[in-house]
């Protein structure tokens, strides 16, 4: 499970972020509180993605002596964190403009 959690870490962050936003937007509709909570969650998710990206990215670049599956897992985990970083940022924008 640890490998899967690592591999999918970025996408799990995206999921938590998205459903968090949905819950805030639904439980506190049309309020400033929803915006503040959504903004804070977005910052936390961006931080989590950045950490994942840094960890997987540095591991992915330290290739020497690594076996194929390990390198592949690091690479995909870094990509997953990167795409999540972009998606979370994009997903958080309605807090500012909607």
């Amino acid at each position: 499970m640890r490998t899967w959690a690592y591999l999918l870490g970025g996408l799990v962050v995206w999921t938590v972020h998205f459903f968090g936003l949905y819950i805030f937007g639904s439980v506190f509709p049309q309020t400033t509180l929803a915006r503040i909570l959504s903004g804070l969650l977005t910052l936390a998710a961006l931080a989590a993605d950045a950490i994942l990206l840094w960890r997987a990215g540095t591991a992915s670049m330290a290739q020497a002596g690594r076996e194929e599956l390990g390198r592949w897992t690091d690479y995909l985990a870094a990509l997953s964190a990167a795409i999540s970083l972009i998606a979370v940022f994009w997903q958080g924008l309605p807090v500012l403009i909607a």
């Binding site: 998205f18 639904s26 599956l69 795409i83 998606a87 924008l93 309605p94």
Partner: protein, 845 residues
């Protein structure tokens, strides 16, 4: 090399083996895997047959739904046309959408999974071949009965997403809607059975050495596809159950005058419905990715990015369901979130499109039929994707909502994203299963007719929609400028149909089913399904060292055929396959597989009978059919989970594998965990519904019973959870009599019954009536779910005792015992959670 399981991977170096294989080994394999003949064919469980039947059945439903589409197009060709009366038109568009989505698209890709995966993974078969057979027969029988409702004027008529209140008893008083609710709910069960089979198959039956990074792209897509089914389909199962409860018993889930809410249905339906689009698209995209590499004769460009795209789609597609509900007046901030997710999901799709283009550019594609279908599909899908981004913009969506623009968009996406790739796949893979390849000449005719027909039909439909024509209207007045575009669309539909007819002619002329002497690898694919196969799949199971083993080792086919890799024989004299570890595919144990049986067929027929007869409200025959289905399932299972005499078997190259293992590494354990995830998702969606209705109509909610009720209820559930764990511990103790553990399990199930009965009694004590409030209806729904789990627990523990009486429960561990333990413990935990939630919220919390 690092090992996942402690397996010594240096043993891989022993392959290919050098010694000659003994005489008669191949003949024995053929005898063991031989398929019955005559009427016995109905009992076949081999994936070569079941997969093909599955594909053929799905294609049949495609043709049937296509005929309905043609009739609708004729009706709309002219204003005030009188071909189809309004009610018939309603039934036709409902059945067209429903059959295409539920009986064609999802089953077709699932069927291709059943057909291709074992060969692609070099497994002997998928791990639960009887489950595949059950899923197929249930789908076929149920689907045909469902379709036949059209001939009696009883087909559903509320659109393929069946929104209440239109489909509530007040506005749909006949049984038409019930056909949809029970029929689709039942077909979803078949889809979930297939998904469990595919997940366990992909993760646990890959050829040794096929670690995740070497897994074929199609297997990746099927894994994500099946996981998405497990997460998404419970929502629609719950939705159909709630709507059927409302229709049958007048429980108020969707009636706002009694604390329900019709938008709850839309949330439940689209939580399933939008991921469903990707559930259909991902496997088709993987077919394209596989074919593009083969057709361009070069490895897929961006393989890892495509894997990432599949995974990202699998997640992000669950964040877009409400974009179907932009017109319902959701909070503005929520609308913004869904709009953002809807545009974000196009990024993974874009990654795939660019990868395919790059692969074609990097390779040497030829002008042949599958290439044409792939490129045609790509062009069409991109157009559909772009209009998809348009409707993700809320202001545009408000204008285009429920118009023919949406009809055009969804057909571009689905035909480009799934139908054209499927036809490409027919041409590409037909050599696996037919003596003759399909005709290139007819294939090109078929493609150009279908491609031109598709564009002629649906391109003008964008304009029809933008000019204001709503979807689902059976006619229109003259003079509104819709005549020309409608007529063009109708002509196009017939051109498209002509292309399909040409394909059927090609099939009739050239398709000749075979398992032994197939036409082979016509287009030069590099993955394992092109190894020479028989009903036993490959003669021996190769060690995998790359993503395109056939390209990287031109001798592989010959060596595999000579039996110089793993399991070149039947090590135990039975059907068997090697179960490998999920990450690195290291051999773990030898799975003994069940052979042909009539019981999956009978179980499927009686299950279908139960649902269909229930629809026509013949309750006693329905009950009898249901009981017979349960008996057939029990009989089918009775022959399974039996250790064989030899505890270990030699699979070649000095590798000895156990023939019977228990615990978390078994395929049965994995399947049970996935099943429990499905049930947990139903629970989660029920909790969502409960909280949603509270959020919408809190004034209808009343205080729960006295909290003192919780003490005996939770005690009962605690007992039901603790006893199975104790029993499992006792089973391995030699001093314990063999009867003690199963009896403890049965007592646990009885504790479940008592707890559910107390729970029910507590709510009755305050006079809660499910006809009067959404809260009461949801609590009764929770109790129904828990009651069902309890009944199944009783059945399972009774079955366990029966097996024990026959000496089939063995120490120190036993798979049937383990699985029953998991189910009963989960049921108890679920019951405790439901009791705590409903008694404490709202009120104490």
């Amino acid at each position: 090399m690092t090992s996942e399981t402690g397996f010594d991977t240096r043993l891989y170096d022993n392959f290919p083996t050098r010694e000659e294989r003994p005489q008669g080994e191949l003949e024995e394999l053929e005898r063991i895997w031989r398929a019955p003949t005559g009427w016995g064919r109905l009992t076949i469980v081999n994936n070569n047959y079941v997969g093909l039947w599955y594909v053929a059945a799905a294609f049949l439903f495609f043709l049937l739904a296509g005929v309905l589409a043609l009739a609708m197009r004729v009706q709309l060709a002219l204003p005030l046309n009188g071909i189809l009366p309004q009610e018939t038109y309603n039934q036709f568009f409902t059945m067209h959408g429903t059959v295409m989505m539920f009986l064609f698209a999802v089953p077709a890709v699932e069927a291709l999974g059943v057909m291709l995966l074992p060969q692609m993974l070099a497994a002997r078969d998928l791990p639960f071949p009887r489950l595949s057979a059950y899923a197929f027969w249930a789908y076929l029988v149920g689907g045909l009965c469902f379709f036949a409702s059209l001939f009696f004027g009883l087909a559903p008529n509320g659109g393929w997403f069946m929104y209440p209140p239109l489909t509530s008893m007040a506005y749909s008083p006949g049984i038409n809607a019930d056909f949809w609710l029970l029929g689709i709910g039942f077909i979803e069960i078949s889809a979930i059975a297939g998904a469990i089979e595919i997940i366990v198959g992909v993760l646990r039956t890959r050829a040794p050495g096929m670690s995740l990074d070497k897994m074929p792209i199609f297997a990746w897509a099927m894994l994500v596809f099946a996981c998405m089914i497990v997460i998404a389909f419970p929502a629609v199962i719950l939705g159909t159950l709630l709507l059927e409860f409302e229709r049958a018993f007048n429980w108020s889930f969707f009636d706002p005058t009694r604390g329900g809410d019709p938008l709850l249905w839309q949330h439940l339906f689209w939580f399933f419905g939008h991921p469903e689009v990707y559930i259909i698209f991902l496997p088709a995209a993987a077919l394209v990715s596989t074919m593009v590499a083969g057709l361009a004769k070069t490895p897929l460009v961006g393989h890892n990015l495509i894997v990432l795209a599949f995974l990202a789609t699998g997640f992000i597609s669950f964040g877009v369901w409400s974009h179907h509900m932009f017109a319902t007046g959701m909070p503005r901030l929520s609308v913004g979130f869904f709009s953002a997710a809807s545009t974000a999901v196009s990024v993974p799709a874009g990654i795939q499109v660019f990868s395919w283009i790059a692969t074609f550019a990097a390779g040497t594609p030829r002008y042949n039929t599958p290439t044409l279908f792939v490129i045609g599909g790509l062009v069409t899908f991109v157009i559909g994707g772009l209009t998809g981004v348009m409707v993700a913009m809320v202001p545009f969506d408000w204008q285009a909502h429920d118009t023919h623009f949406i009809v055009a968009h969804l057909h571009y996406v689905l035909i480009g994203g799934m139908v054209f790739p499927l036809f490409a796949a027919f041409y590409f893979w037909i050599g696996m299963t037919s003596r003759r390849a399909l005709s290139e000449r007819l294939g090109k005719w078929s493609f150009w007719l279908m491609f031109a027909g598709m564009q002629i039909t649906f391109l003008p439909m964008h304009l029809t929609g933008l000019m204001g024509m709503l979807r689902r209207v059976y006619t229109y007045l003259p003079g509104r400028s819709w005549e020309v575009t409608n007529m063009i669309s109708t002509v196009g539909a017939f051109i498209l149909a002509a292309g399909v007819v040409v394909f059927l002619i090609d099939l009739a002329r050239n398709f000749r089913f075979t398992v032994e002497d197939d036409a082979g690898n016509v287009y030069g694919g590099g993955t394992l399904e092109w190894l020479p196969t028989g009903l036993y799949s490959t003669r021996s199971i190769p060690v995998i060292r790359s993503r395109y083993p056939l390209w990287d080792d031109p001798e592989l086919c010959k060596i595999v055929e000579e039996g110089r890799y793993l399991l070149p024989n039947s090590a135990t004299g039975r059907r068997e396959t090697i179960v490998t570890s999920p990450l690195r595919a290291e051999p773990e144990y030898l799975q003994i597989m069940p052979g042909p049986s009539v019981w999956p067929l009978l179980a499927a027929v009686f299950t279908a009978g139960f649902f269909v007869i229930l629809t026509i409200q013949a309750y006693t025959p329905a009950l009898i059919s249901g009981v017979l289905a349960v008996l057939a399932v029990i009989r089918w299972l009775w022959e399974t989970d039996r250790p064989v005499a030899a505890q270990h078997a030699d699979v070649g190259g000095g590798i000895m594998l156990p023939t019977y293992v228990t615990g978390p590494r078994t395929h049965g354990w994995w399947a049970m965990v996935i099943l429990l995830i499905v049930i947990a998702m139903i629970l989660l969606m029920s909790v969502f519904s409960y909280l949603y209705l509270y959020g919408i109509h809190p004034s209808f909610w009343r205080s729960p019973p006295d909290n003192l009720w919780l003490l005996p209820i939770l005690s009962g559930y605690a007992l039901a959870a603790g006893l199975p764990l104790l029993a499992r511990g006792l089973l391995k103790r030699e001093k314990t009599t063999l009867w003690t553990p199963p009896v403890l399990m049965f007592v646990a199930a009885v504790a479940l019954v008592v707890a559910v009965a107390l729970e029910f009694r507590s709510w009755r004590s305050i006079g809660l009536d499910p006809q009067l409030s959404g809260q009461a209806a949801m609590i009764y729904a929770f109790l129904s779910l828990q009651g069902t789990m309890t009944a199944i627990s009783m059945l399972m523990t009774g079955y366990l005792m029966a097996r024990n009486a026959r000496g089939l429960i063995v120490r120190p561990h036993n798979n049937t015992f383990d699985l029953t333990t998991m189910f009963v413990v989960y049921s108890a935990a679920q019951g405790g959670f439901i009791a705590a939630l409903t008694h404490l919220f709202p009120g104490a919390v």
